[in-house]
Point group: C2
Chain length 223, copies 2
Amino acid sequence: MGLRELKKQRTRDLLLRSALELFAERGYEETTVDDIADAADVSQRTFFRYFASKEDAAFFVSRLAESRFVEAVRARPAGEAPLDALRLALVASWSTIGEAVEQLIPMELHLRFYRVIESTPALLAAHLRRATELEEEIARVIAAREGLDVDADPRPRVVVAVFGAVMRVTERIWSARDDAGLAALRDLTATYLDQVAPALTGDWRGPALAEGAGPTPQRSNET
Amino acid sequence: MGLRELKKQRTRDLLLRSALELFAERGYEETTVDDIADAADVSQRTFFRYFASKEDAAFFVSRLAESRFVEAVRARPAGEAPLDALRLALVASWSTIGEAVEQLIPMELHLRFYRVIESTPALLAAHLRRATELEEEIARVIAAREGLDVDADPRPRVVVAVFGAVMRVTERIWSARDDAGLAALRDLTATYLDQVAPALTGDWRGPALAEGAGPTPQRSNET
DNA sequence: TTGTCAACTGTCAGTGGCTGTCATTAGCCT
DNA sequence: AGGCTAATGACAGCCACTGACAGTTGACAA
């Protein structure tokens, strides 16, 4: 790799890290692109040569994680039921995603920024839009697995949408908690996914399975 | 009502109508706030005194519709299962929403603008964020119905999230079709809601119920 | 090594969304 | 009629973002 290439990568990395640190410290809206550029010792114009927008920088890490998850879904054996495949892909990609993130920035910073996303309307909106795009991509993967046409059969999009909805509820609850660590997110995800069937049943007198503000890890070590 | 009050209402109405018409005609991003203000013969500053943002004007009508839906959910008899209550509230509020919208702008314009939302990333993002806020509100209503605590029991948020997810998939598909009328949306909604259970089942060899690009109204007149 | 090309960067100017300020206008009330 | 106050317009300024142009620096061949 040439010197030029190396410098470029260093600049992008520095910009990314500076951006996320500033976002996590003082907030997204309170951080101007000029601030980020100054922190990385480049001009504002240069920032926009590396990132299409302020938002683009904010979701750079998420993009990586998402692509890993899609790969994991693709790698699932054909026999599994769609919803199982999604859940197992999530479990399987967990560590892979962790490594990929850590290659760019400390995981601690990523988690801290995740809470900024949830508490910043503009970022949350962008996050949700990106999530639906992801869902469309995954719906096509699921449809392909089952030999179906996404436009002819509603089910692929519906399962993926349901799965995604539960994931988002989980993220939301998790980010509002005090123990917003990786383990807590994994446990919460499992708990909420377990609630899909009970929640859709008319009979809510079934097991309530209280799992809320308190730190009540239900299941772990599923890797 | 005084003259002042009347003039204010007229101005807001004119601004709203001008905005939506311009959005529908030439696109959201292609329309500047100055354009809207000019069309309504006021200054740009005045536009921002009536609407907090360009986006705020875009979702003014949606806000009305959503509040009607929430009311409808609240009005559902306590005996119904949560998912049924949501679906029936939707059916029940259909006409009420229509009237409320028509009071502000022609329904045709509203439907046309709906497609602009889906095709404009910034608007779609805002729409999704607003949708999750709505879901939180409805989750609390559902929880109250069942005598549960939203933070202690995951199920209220999960059902609502699932319902919302299906609604959004429906909107998306609907807006991409040629016959994007009210009746088509109603039919599509019913079709997709019917697919929740089948989609979550592992067995996808069941009834495929092909309903896609083609104009294939499945059920109507459920009012 | 050196000269040339292409890539990278900084500077500057400009647009659009949005806000604060202040003077002016116009409805309201006595 | 005249004073009070809400509504408005005009102006200045911030921030995200973009296009244009010029200067700098790595890459590569002679």
